[in-house]
Amino acid sequence: MGPTLRQLLINALSIGFLIFLWYVCSTAGWVPRVFLPPPQDVWGALVAGFSTGTLADQTLSTVFSMLIGWFACSLFGVLLGSVIGIWPLARLSLGPVLEIFRPMPPAAIIPLAIAILGLSAEMSLSVIIFGAIWPALLSTVHGFSSIDPRLKEVGRALGISPLAFIWKIALPNATPDIIAGMRLSMVISLVLVVITDMITGQIGLGSLVVLASRTFDMAGLFAGLCLLSLIGLVSNSVLQFAERRLLRYKQ
Protein backbone atom coordinates (compact mmCIF):
# COMPACT_ATOMS: atom_id res chain seq x y z
CA MET A 1 0.00 0.00 0.00
CA GLY A 2 3.00 2.27 0.57
CA PRO A 3 3.85 3.12 -3.04
CA THR A 4 0.19 3.59 -4.08
CA LEU A 5 -0.43 5.92 -1.15
CA ARG A 6 2.65 7.89 -2.05
CA GLN A 7 1.55 8.14 -5.68
CA LEU A 8 -1.86 9.35 -4.54
CA LEU A 9 -0.22 12.04 -2.43
CA ILE A 10 1.99 13.08 -5.34
CA ASN A 11 -1.07 13.17 -7.62
CA ALA A 12 -2.93 15.38 -5.18
CA LEU A 13 0.08 17.68 -4.88
CA SER A 14 0.67 17.93 -8.63
CA ILE A 15 -2.99 18.50 -9.45
CA GLY A 16 -3.12 21.07 -6.66
CA PHE A 17 -0.08 22.75 -8.16
CA LEU A 18 -1.76 22.78 -11.57
CA ILE A 19 -4.84 24.49 -10.13
CA PHE A 20 -2.60 26.93 -8.25
CA LEU A 21 -0.77 27.71 -11.49
CA TRP A 22 -4.13 28.24 -13.19
CA TYR A 23 -5.15 30.58 -10.35
CA VAL A 24 -1.94 32.62 -10.59
CA CYS A 25 -2.03 32.81 -14.40
CA SER A 26 -5.61 34.04 -14.47
CA THR A 27 -5.60 36.41 -11.50
CA ALA A 28 -2.18 37.95 -12.22
CA GLY A 29 -3.32 38.65 -15.75
CA TRP A 30 -0.60 36.61 -17.49
CA VAL A 31 -3.30 35.03 -19.59
CA PRO A 32 -6.24 37.30 -20.55
CA ARG A 33 -9.33 36.62 -18.46
CA VAL A 34 -11.34 36.41 -21.66
CA PHE A 35 -9.53 33.16 -22.45
CA LEU A 36 -8.86 31.73 -19.01
CA PRO A 37 -11.27 32.43 -16.17
CA PRO A 38 -9.89 32.00 -12.64
CA PRO A 39 -10.69 28.67 -10.96
CA GLN A 40 -12.94 30.25 -8.34
CA ASP A 41 -15.22 31.62 -11.09
CA VAL A 42 -15.42 28.17 -12.68
CA TRP A 43 -16.24 26.70 -9.29
CA GLY A 44 -18.90 29.38 -8.87
CA ALA A 45 -20.39 28.47 -12.26
CA LEU A 46 -20.42 24.80 -11.29
CA VAL A 47 -22.14 25.49 -7.96
CA ALA A 48 -24.67 27.85 -9.54
CA GLY A 49 -25.36 25.42 -12.39
CA PHE A 50 -25.93 22.49 -10.09
CA SER A 51 -28.05 24.42 -7.60
CA THR A 52 -30.44 25.54 -10.35
CA GLY A 53 -30.37 22.06 -11.82
CA THR A 54 -29.62 22.93 -15.45
CA LEU A 55 -26.05 21.71 -15.30
CA ALA A 56 -27.15 18.50 -13.60
CA ASP A 57 -29.63 17.88 -16.43
CA GLN A 58 -27.00 18.41 -19.08
CA THR A 59 -24.45 16.26 -17.30
CA LEU A 60 -26.93 13.46 -16.73
CA SER A 61 -28.06 13.59 -20.33
CA THR A 62 -24.48 13.29 -21.57
CA VAL A 63 -23.66 10.46 -19.17
CA PHE A 64 -26.89 8.71 -20.08
CA SER A 65 -26.31 8.88 -23.83
CA MET A 66 -22.74 7.77 -23.33
CA LEU A 67 -23.80 4.74 -21.29
CA ILE A 68 -26.59 3.74 -23.68
CA GLY A 69 -24.28 4.04 -26.66
CA TRP A 70 -21.54 2.17 -24.89
CA PHE A 71 -23.87 -0.58 -23.72
CA ALA A 72 -25.35 -1.04 -27.18
CA CYS A 73 -22.02 -1.12 -28.96
CA SER A 74 -20.51 -3.46 -26.37
CA LEU A 75 -23.45 -5.80 -26.80
CA PHE A 76 -23.46 -5.76 -30.60
CA GLY A 77 -19.68 -5.69 -30.75
CA VAL A 78 -19.24 -8.74 -28.54
CA LEU A 79 -22.07 -10.69 -30.22
CA LEU A 80 -20.92 -9.94 -33.75
CA GLY A 81 -17.28 -10.32 -32.76
CA SER A 82 -17.96 -13.77 -31.28
CA VAL A 83 -19.65 -14.93 -34.45
CA ILE A 84 -16.84 -13.62 -36.63
CA GLY A 85 -14.16 -14.88 -34.29
CA ILE A 86 -15.54 -18.38 -33.88
CA TRP A 87 -16.69 -19.07 -37.40
CA PRO A 88 -13.78 -19.31 -39.86
CA LEU A 89 -15.92 -18.59 -42.92
CA ALA A 90 -17.22 -15.36 -41.37
CA ARG A 91 -13.73 -14.39 -40.33
CA LEU A 92 -12.32 -14.93 -43.80
CA SER A 93 -15.12 -13.10 -45.53
CA LEU A 94 -15.98 -10.30 -43.08
CA GLY A 95 -12.62 -9.63 -41.44
CA PRO A 96 -11.05 -7.80 -44.38
CA VAL A 97 -14.29 -5.89 -45.02
CA LEU A 98 -14.21 -4.61 -41.44
CA GLU A 99 -10.63 -3.51 -42.02
CA ILE A 100 -11.88 -1.31 -44.86
CA PHE A 101 -14.28 0.51 -42.54
CA ARG A 102 -11.99 0.78 -39.56
CA PRO A 103 -9.77 3.67 -40.71
CA MET A 104 -12.88 5.71 -41.48
CA PRO A 105 -13.14 8.50 -38.90
CA PRO A 106 -16.37 7.69 -36.99
CA ALA A 107 -17.51 11.30 -37.02
CA ALA A 108 -17.33 11.32 -40.82
CA ILE A 109 -20.59 9.41 -41.04
CA ILE A 110 -22.43 12.18 -39.19
CA PRO A 111 -23.48 13.99 -42.39
CA LEU A 112 -24.73 10.69 -43.79
CA ALA A 113 -26.59 9.92 -40.57
CA ILE A 114 -28.14 13.39 -40.58
CA ALA A 115 -29.22 12.88 -44.18
CA ILE A 116 -30.97 9.65 -43.27
CA LEU A 117 -32.28 10.28 -39.77
CA GLY A 118 -32.27 14.06 -39.41
CA LEU A 119 -31.11 15.94 -36.33
CA SER A 120 -32.63 13.45 -33.95
CA ALA A 121 -31.69 11.44 -30.89
CA GLU A 122 -31.76 8.29 -33.06
CA MET A 123 -29.18 9.87 -35.32
CA SER A 124 -26.91 10.54 -32.33
CA LEU A 125 -27.32 7.04 -31.02
CA SER A 126 -26.63 5.39 -34.35
CA VAL A 127 -23.51 7.50 -34.88
CA ILE A 128 -22.29 6.61 -31.39
CA ILE A 129 -22.92 2.92 -31.95
CA PHE A 130 -21.35 2.90 -35.40
CA GLY A 131 -18.27 4.79 -34.24
CA ALA A 132 -17.68 3.15 -30.90
CA ILE A 133 -18.38 -0.45 -31.89
CA TRP A 134 -15.01 -1.01 -33.56
CA PRO A 135 -12.78 -1.49 -30.50
CA ALA A 136 -15.26 -3.86 -28.84
CA LEU A 137 -15.88 -5.73 -32.10
CA LEU A 138 -12.29 -6.06 -33.25
CA SER A 139 -10.90 -6.96 -29.86
CA THR A 140 -13.56 -9.64 -29.48
CA VAL A 141 -12.65 -11.05 -32.87
CA HIS A 142 -9.01 -11.00 -31.84
CA GLY A 143 -9.75 -12.60 -28.47
CA PHE A 144 -11.73 -15.39 -30.09
CA SER A 145 -9.36 -16.11 -32.92
CA SER A 146 -6.32 -16.27 -30.65
CA ILE A 147 -7.60 -19.18 -28.58
CA ASP A 148 -4.85 -21.63 -27.77
CA PRO A 149 -5.20 -24.64 -30.15
CA ARG A 150 -4.82 -26.90 -27.15
CA LEU A 151 -7.97 -25.44 -25.63
CA LYS A 152 -9.79 -26.25 -28.86
CA GLU A 153 -8.51 -29.79 -28.64
CA VAL A 154 -9.77 -30.01 -25.07
CA GLY A 155 -13.18 -28.87 -26.28
CA ARG A 156 -13.19 -31.47 -29.04
CA ALA A 157 -12.01 -34.20 -26.72
CA LEU A 158 -14.78 -33.40 -24.27
CA GLY A 159 -17.24 -33.38 -27.13
CA ILE A 160 -19.00 -30.24 -25.95
CA SER A 161 -21.43 -28.37 -28.16
CA PRO A 162 -20.27 -25.25 -30.02
CA LEU A 163 -22.42 -23.07 -27.76
CA ALA A 164 -20.94 -24.60 -24.64
CA PHE A 165 -17.50 -24.16 -26.18
CA ILE A 166 -18.16 -20.45 -26.65
CA TRP A 167 -19.58 -20.02 -23.18
CA LYS A 168 -17.12 -22.13 -21.24
CA ILE A 169 -13.84 -21.81 -23.12
CA ALA A 170 -13.80 -19.12 -25.78
CA LEU A 171 -15.52 -16.31 -23.91
CA PRO A 172 -13.48 -16.52 -20.70
CA ASN A 173 -10.37 -16.78 -22.82
CA ALA A 174 -11.27 -13.66 -24.78
CA THR A 175 -12.37 -11.63 -21.74
CA PRO A 176 -9.17 -9.58 -21.31
CA ASP A 177 -9.28 -8.48 -24.94
CA ILE A 178 -13.00 -7.78 -24.77
CA ILE A 179 -12.71 -5.63 -21.66
CA ALA A 180 -9.82 -3.67 -23.11
CA GLY A 181 -11.90 -3.06 -26.23
CA MET A 182 -14.94 -2.05 -24.20
CA ARG A 183 -12.86 0.51 -22.33
CA LEU A 184 -11.77 2.09 -25.59
CA SER A 185 -15.39 2.00 -26.79
CA MET A 186 -16.41 4.00 -23.71
CA VAL A 187 -13.85 6.71 -24.50
CA ILE A 188 -15.01 6.94 -28.11
CA SER A 189 -18.68 6.99 -27.17
CA LEU A 190 -18.08 9.97 -24.84
CA VAL A 191 -16.32 11.79 -27.68
CA LEU A 192 -19.15 11.03 -30.08
CA VAL A 193 -21.81 12.11 -27.60
CA VAL A 194 -20.06 15.46 -27.33
CA ILE A 195 -19.76 15.80 -31.11
CA THR A 196 -23.38 14.89 -31.83
CA ASP A 197 -24.54 17.24 -29.05
CA MET A 198 -22.52 20.04 -30.57
CA ILE A 199 -23.96 19.49 -34.03
CA THR A 200 -27.57 18.81 -33.13
CA GLY A 201 -27.82 21.15 -30.15
CA GLN A 202 -29.52 18.51 -28.05
CA ILE A 203 -29.31 18.96 -24.30
CA GLY A 204 -25.90 17.90 -23.10
CA LEU A 205 -22.45 19.12 -22.21
CA GLY A 206 -21.41 19.39 -25.86
CA SER A 207 -24.10 21.94 -26.64
CA LEU A 208 -23.50 23.62 -23.27
CA VAL A 209 -19.88 24.26 -24.25
CA VAL A 210 -20.94 25.68 -27.62
CA LEU A 211 -23.62 27.93 -26.13
CA ALA A 212 -21.28 29.16 -23.39
CA SER A 213 -18.67 30.08 -25.99
CA ARG A 214 -21.24 31.97 -28.08
CA THR A 215 -22.17 34.09 -25.09
CA PHE A 216 -18.52 34.42 -23.99
CA ASP A 217 -19.45 32.77 -20.70
CA MET A 218 -15.94 31.44 -20.12
CA ALA A 219 -16.63 30.24 -16.59
CA GLY A 220 -19.53 28.19 -17.89
CA LEU A 221 -17.40 26.85 -20.73
CA PHE A 222 -14.66 25.73 -18.37
CA ALA A 223 -17.25 24.25 -16.02
CA GLY A 224 -18.44 22.11 -18.95
CA LEU A 225 -14.88 21.08 -19.80
CA CYS A 226 -14.19 20.14 -16.16
CA LEU A 227 -17.34 18.01 -16.02
CA LEU A 228 -16.45 16.28 -19.29
CA SER A 229 -12.99 15.37 -18.10
CA LEU A 230 -14.47 14.20 -14.80
CA ILE A 231 -16.96 11.95 -16.64
CA GLY A 232 -14.13 10.50 -18.72
CA LEU A 233 -11.93 10.01 -15.68
CA VAL A 234 -14.62 8.32 -13.58
CA SER A 235 -15.91 6.03 -16.34
CA ASN A 236 -12.41 4.95 -17.28
CA SER A 237 -11.42 4.34 -13.65
CA VAL A 238 -14.54 2.29 -13.01
CA LEU A 239 -13.83 0.09 -16.02
CA GLN A 240 -10.19 -0.20 -15.06
CA PHE A 241 -11.23 -1.31 -11.58
CA ALA A 242 -13.69 -3.81 -13.03
CA GLU A 243 -10.98 -5.09 -15.34
CA ARG A 244 -8.65 -5.71 -12.42
CA ARG A 245 -11.36 -7.42 -10.39
CA LEU A 246 -12.55 -9.61 -13.24
CA LEU A 247 -9.10 -10.64 -14.32
CA ARG A 248 -7.73 -11.35 -10.89
CA TYR A 249 -7.80 -15.05 -11.60
CA LYS A 250 -5.27 -14.53 -14.38
CA GLN A 251 -2.54 -13.37 -12.03
Binding site: Q7, I10, N11, A12, L13, S14, I15, L18, V34, F35, L89, L92, S93, L94, G95, P96, V97, I100, F101, P103, M104, P105, P106, A107, A108, I109, I110, P111, L112, I114, A115, I116, V187, L190, V191, V194, I195, M198, I199, L205, G206, V209, V210, A212, S213, R214, F216, M218, L221, G224, L225, L228, S229, L230, I231, G232, L233, S235, N236
Partner: protein
Amino acid sequence: MTTGFNYRPWVVVAVLIGAWQWALGGHAVVSDTLVAPGPVLHATIRMLIDGSALKAGGQTLLATLVGLALGGGIGTIVGIASGMARPLASAIRGPVEVIRPLPAIALVPLMTIIFGLGLKMEVYVVSFAVIWPSIILSQHAVQNVEHELIEVADILEFGYVARTWKIILPAIWPRLVVMLRFTAAIALLIAVTVELVSNPWGLGHEMMVASWGLEPAKMLAYLVVVTAIGWGLNWVLLLVERMITAGPGAAER
Protein backbone atom coordinates in the same frame (compact mmCIF):
# COMPACT_ATOMS: atom_id res chain seq x y z
CA MET B 1 -7.38 -23.49 -49.80
CA THR B 2 -5.65 -21.49 -47.12
CA THR B 3 -2.82 -20.37 -49.36
CA GLY B 4 -5.09 -19.55 -52.29
CA PHE B 5 -6.55 -16.18 -53.07
CA ASN B 6 -9.12 -15.18 -50.48
CA TYR B 7 -12.02 -14.20 -52.70
CA ARG B 8 -14.65 -14.11 -49.93
CA PRO B 9 -14.29 -10.48 -48.81
CA TRP B 10 -14.75 -9.42 -52.43
CA VAL B 11 -17.97 -11.40 -52.57
CA VAL B 12 -19.18 -9.62 -49.42
CA VAL B 13 -18.26 -6.21 -50.81
CA ALA B 14 -19.93 -7.06 -54.12
CA VAL B 15 -23.10 -8.17 -52.33
CA LEU B 16 -23.13 -5.01 -50.21
CA ILE B 17 -22.70 -2.76 -53.21
CA GLY B 18 -25.21 -4.80 -55.15
CA ALA B 19 -27.78 -4.43 -52.38
CA TRP B 20 -27.08 -0.70 -52.20
CA GLN B 21 -27.53 -0.42 -55.98
CA TRP B 22 -30.71 -2.46 -55.87
CA ALA B 23 -32.20 -0.47 -53.01
CA LEU B 24 -31.45 2.98 -54.37
CA GLY B 25 -31.21 2.37 -58.08
CA GLY B 26 -34.90 3.15 -58.41
CA HIS B 27 -36.32 -0.12 -57.10
CA ALA B 28 -36.99 -0.17 -53.40
CA VAL B 29 -36.28 3.19 -51.81
CA VAL B 30 -36.87 6.60 -53.28
CA SER B 31 -34.79 9.15 -51.46
CA ASP B 32 -33.61 12.74 -51.70
CA THR B 33 -30.85 12.13 -49.23
CA LEU B 34 -29.24 8.97 -50.57
CA VAL B 35 -28.07 7.79 -53.97
CA ALA B 36 -26.92 4.61 -55.64
CA PRO B 37 -23.21 3.74 -55.87
CA GLY B 38 -22.98 4.75 -59.54
CA PRO B 39 -23.46 8.49 -58.99
CA VAL B 40 -21.13 8.36 -55.97
CA LEU B 41 -18.37 6.88 -58.08
CA HIS B 42 -19.08 9.44 -60.76
CA ALA B 43 -18.94 12.29 -58.22
CA THR B 44 -15.71 10.93 -56.73
CA ILE B 45 -14.01 10.81 -60.11
CA ARG B 46 -15.32 14.25 -61.06
CA MET B 47 -14.06 15.71 -57.77
CA LEU B 48 -10.68 14.12 -58.24
CA ILE B 49 -10.39 15.49 -61.77
CA ASP B 50 -11.52 19.05 -61.06
CA GLY B 51 -9.27 19.09 -58.00
CA SER B 52 -11.87 19.99 -55.38
CA ALA B 53 -11.33 16.71 -53.52
CA LEU B 54 -7.58 17.22 -53.62
CA LYS B 55 -7.89 20.78 -52.34
CA ALA B 56 -10.16 19.85 -49.43
CA GLY B 57 -8.12 16.70 -48.75
CA GLY B 58 -4.94 18.73 -48.76
CA GLN B 59 -6.36 21.16 -46.21
CA THR B 60 -7.46 18.35 -43.93
CA LEU B 61 -4.19 16.52 -44.34
CA LEU B 62 -2.19 19.69 -43.65
CA ALA B 63 -4.00 20.30 -40.35
CA THR B 64 -3.69 16.60 -39.47
CA LEU B 65 0.04 16.44 -40.10
CA VAL B 66 0.95 19.77 -38.49
CA GLY B 67 -1.14 18.92 -35.44
CA LEU B 68 0.37 15.45 -35.33
CA ALA B 69 3.89 16.87 -35.56
CA LEU B 70 3.25 19.44 -32.85
CA GLY B 71 1.34 17.24 -30.40
CA GLY B 72 3.33 14.10 -31.16
CA GLY B 73 6.62 15.98 -30.90
CA ILE B 74 5.90 17.62 -27.56
CA GLY B 75 4.26 14.46 -26.24
CA THR B 76 7.19 12.28 -27.23
CA ILE B 77 9.73 14.63 -25.69
CA VAL B 78 7.79 14.80 -22.43
CA GLY B 79 7.23 11.04 -22.55
CA ILE B 80 10.90 10.22 -23.09
CA ALA B 81 12.05 12.66 -20.41
CA SER B 82 9.55 11.31 -17.89
CA GLY B 83 10.33 7.74 -18.89
CA MET B 84 13.97 8.31 -17.99
CA ALA B 85 13.30 10.06 -14.68
CA ARG B 86 10.91 8.28 -12.33
CA PRO B 87 10.18 11.35 -10.14
CA LEU B 88 9.14 13.34 -13.21
CA ALA B 89 6.90 10.47 -14.34
CA SER B 90 5.08 10.34 -11.01
CA ALA B 91 4.85 14.13 -10.85
CA ILE B 92 3.10 14.52 -14.22
CA ARG B 93 0.94 11.44 -13.80
CA GLY B 94 -1.88 13.13 -11.89
CA PRO B 95 -2.34 16.11 -14.21
CA VAL B 96 -2.06 13.89 -17.30
CA GLU B 97 -4.71 11.50 -16.00
CA VAL B 98 -7.02 14.38 -15.14
CA ILE B 99 -6.73 16.32 -18.41
CA ARG B 100 -6.46 13.36 -20.77
CA PRO B 101 -10.10 12.17 -20.60
CA LEU B 102 -11.33 15.55 -21.87
CA PRO B 103 -12.57 14.99 -25.44
CA ALA B 104 -10.46 17.25 -27.66
CA ILE B 105 -13.50 18.21 -29.69
CA ALA B 106 -15.00 19.95 -26.66
CA LEU B 107 -12.11 22.41 -26.92
CA VAL B 108 -13.25 23.65 -30.34
CA PRO B 109 -15.40 26.50 -28.95
CA LEU B 110 -12.62 27.64 -26.60
CA MET B 111 -9.96 27.43 -29.30
CA THR B 112 -12.23 29.30 -31.69
CA ILE B 113 -12.51 32.17 -29.20
CA ILE B 114 -8.74 32.24 -28.73
CA PHE B 115 -7.46 31.64 -32.26
CA GLY B 116 -10.46 32.24 -34.48
CA LEU B 117 -11.47 29.79 -37.20
CA GLY B 118 -8.78 28.42 -39.48
CA LEU B 119 -5.71 26.27 -39.57
CA LYS B 120 -4.28 27.39 -36.24
CA MET B 121 -7.35 26.44 -34.22
CA GLU B 122 -7.63 23.07 -35.90
CA VAL B 123 -3.94 22.32 -35.39
CA TYR B 124 -4.13 23.07 -31.67
CA VAL B 125 -7.19 20.89 -31.18
CA VAL B 126 -5.52 18.04 -33.08
CA SER B 127 -2.31 18.39 -31.10
CA PHE B 128 -4.26 18.39 -27.83
CA ALA B 129 -5.82 15.08 -28.84
CA VAL B 130 -2.49 13.58 -29.86
CA ILE B 131 -0.27 14.79 -27.03
CA TRP B 132 -1.65 12.55 -24.25
CA PRO B 133 -1.38 9.18 -25.97
CA SER B 134 2.08 10.24 -27.17
CA ILE B 135 3.22 11.01 -23.63
CA ILE B 136 1.89 7.76 -22.23
CA LEU B 137 3.03 5.47 -25.03
CA SER B 138 6.55 6.91 -25.31
CA GLN B 139 6.92 6.89 -21.54
CA HIS B 140 5.97 3.21 -21.48
CA ALA B 141 8.37 2.52 -24.33
CA VAL B 142 11.28 4.09 -22.45
CA GLN B 143 10.38 2.35 -19.21
CA ASN B 144 10.38 -0.98 -21.03
CA VAL B 145 13.87 -0.59 -22.47
CA GLU B 146 15.95 -3.57 -21.40
CA HIS B 147 17.88 -3.16 -18.18
CA GLU B 148 21.10 -4.33 -19.79
CA LEU B 149 21.05 -1.38 -22.16
CA ILE B 150 20.57 1.09 -19.31
CA GLU B 151 23.42 -0.57 -17.46
CA VAL B 152 25.62 -0.20 -20.51
CA ALA B 153 24.84 3.50 -20.50
CA ASP B 154 25.64 3.66 -16.78
CA ILE B 155 28.97 1.91 -17.26
CA LEU B 156 29.90 4.17 -20.16
CA GLU B 157 28.93 7.11 -17.93
CA PHE B 158 26.75 8.64 -20.61
CA GLY B 159 25.14 11.99 -19.90
CA TYR B 160 21.43 12.51 -20.52
CA VAL B 161 21.89 13.61 -24.13
CA ALA B 162 24.20 10.77 -25.12
CA ARG B 163 22.03 8.30 -23.25
CA THR B 164 18.89 9.45 -25.03
CA TRP B 165 20.50 9.67 -28.43
CA LYS B 166 22.63 6.53 -28.43
CA ILE B 167 20.71 4.08 -26.25
CA ILE B 168 17.09 5.04 -25.66
CA LEU B 169 16.06 6.35 -29.07
CA PRO B 170 17.39 3.43 -31.11
CA ALA B 171 15.80 1.03 -28.64
CA ILE B 172 12.33 2.57 -28.69
CA TRP B 173 12.33 3.57 -32.36
CA PRO B 174 10.07 0.74 -33.57
CA ARG B 175 7.58 1.42 -30.79
CA LEU B 176 7.53 5.09 -31.68
CA VAL B 177 6.53 4.24 -35.24
CA VAL B 178 3.68 2.07 -33.97
CA MET B 179 2.68 4.98 -31.76
CA LEU B 180 2.78 7.30 -34.75
CA ARG B 181 0.40 5.06 -36.67
CA PHE B 182 -2.00 5.02 -33.75
CA THR B 183 -1.85 8.78 -33.17
CA ALA B 184 -2.10 9.59 -36.89
CA ALA B 185 -5.51 7.91 -36.97
CA ILE B 186 -6.60 10.01 -33.99
CA ALA B 187 -5.25 13.18 -35.61
CA LEU B 188 -7.16 12.58 -38.85
CA LEU B 189 -10.34 11.79 -36.93
CA ILE B 190 -10.06 14.98 -34.92
CA ALA B 191 -9.19 17.13 -37.94
CA VAL B 192 -12.21 15.90 -39.91
CA THR B 193 -14.44 16.31 -36.88
CA VAL B 194 -13.29 19.88 -36.21
CA GLU B 195 -14.21 20.65 -39.82
CA LEU B 196 -17.57 18.95 -39.44
CA VAL B 197 -18.38 20.88 -36.30
CA SER B 198 -17.18 24.32 -37.23
CA ASN B 199 -14.01 24.99 -39.19
CA PRO B 200 -15.06 26.14 -42.67
CA TRP B 201 -12.57 24.26 -44.81
CA GLY B 202 -11.37 20.74 -45.57
CA LEU B 203 -13.16 17.47 -46.18
CA GLY B 204 -15.36 17.60 -43.09
CA HIS B 205 -16.76 20.99 -44.01
CA GLU B 206 -17.35 19.98 -47.63
CA MET B 207 -19.24 16.92 -46.43
CA MET B 208 -21.41 19.01 -44.15
CA VAL B 209 -22.13 21.51 -46.94
CA ALA B 210 -23.03 18.69 -49.32
CA SER B 211 -25.28 17.19 -46.66
CA TRP B 212 -27.15 20.44 -45.98
CA GLY B 213 -27.32 21.11 -49.73
CA LEU B 214 -28.97 17.73 -50.39
CA GLU B 215 -26.17 16.57 -52.64
CA PRO B 216 -25.87 13.00 -51.44
CA ALA B 217 -23.56 11.89 -54.24
CA LYS B 218 -21.04 14.57 -53.33
CA MET B 219 -21.36 13.89 -49.62
CA LEU B 220 -20.76 10.16 -50.04
CA ALA B 221 -17.91 10.87 -52.45
CA TYR B 222 -16.22 12.95 -49.74
CA LEU B 223 -16.80 10.11 -47.29
CA VAL B 224 -14.98 7.83 -49.74
CA VAL B 225 -12.11 10.32 -49.94
CA VAL B 226 -11.89 10.63 -46.13
CA THR B 227 -11.79 6.86 -45.78
CA ALA B 228 -9.18 6.60 -48.51
CA ILE B 229 -6.98 9.14 -46.74
CA GLY B 230 -7.33 7.30 -43.43
CA TRP B 231 -6.51 4.06 -45.18
CA GLY B 232 -3.56 5.60 -47.03
CA LEU B 233 -2.11 7.16 -43.88
CA ASN B 234 -2.35 3.83 -42.09
CA TRP B 235 -0.82 2.01 -45.04
CA VAL B 236 2.15 4.39 -45.37
CA LEU B 237 2.96 4.13 -41.67
CA LEU B 238 2.56 0.37 -41.76
CA LEU B 239 5.08 0.32 -44.59
CA VAL B 240 7.49 2.44 -42.54
CA GLU B 241 6.96 0.10 -39.62
CA ARG B 242 7.80 -2.90 -41.72
CA MET B 243 10.87 -1.21 -43.19
CA ILE B 244 12.16 -0.51 -39.70
CA THR B 245 11.49 -3.91 -38.20
CA ALA B 246 12.64 -5.90 -41.22
CA GLY B 247 14.99 -3.53 -43.01
CA PRO B 248 18.79 -3.42 -42.99
CA GLY B 249 20.05 -2.75 -39.49
CA ALA B 250 17.24 -4.65 -37.84
CA ALA B 251 19.58 -7.55 -37.14
CA GLU B 252 22.04 -5.28 -35.35
CA ARG B 253 19.32 -4.20 -33.02
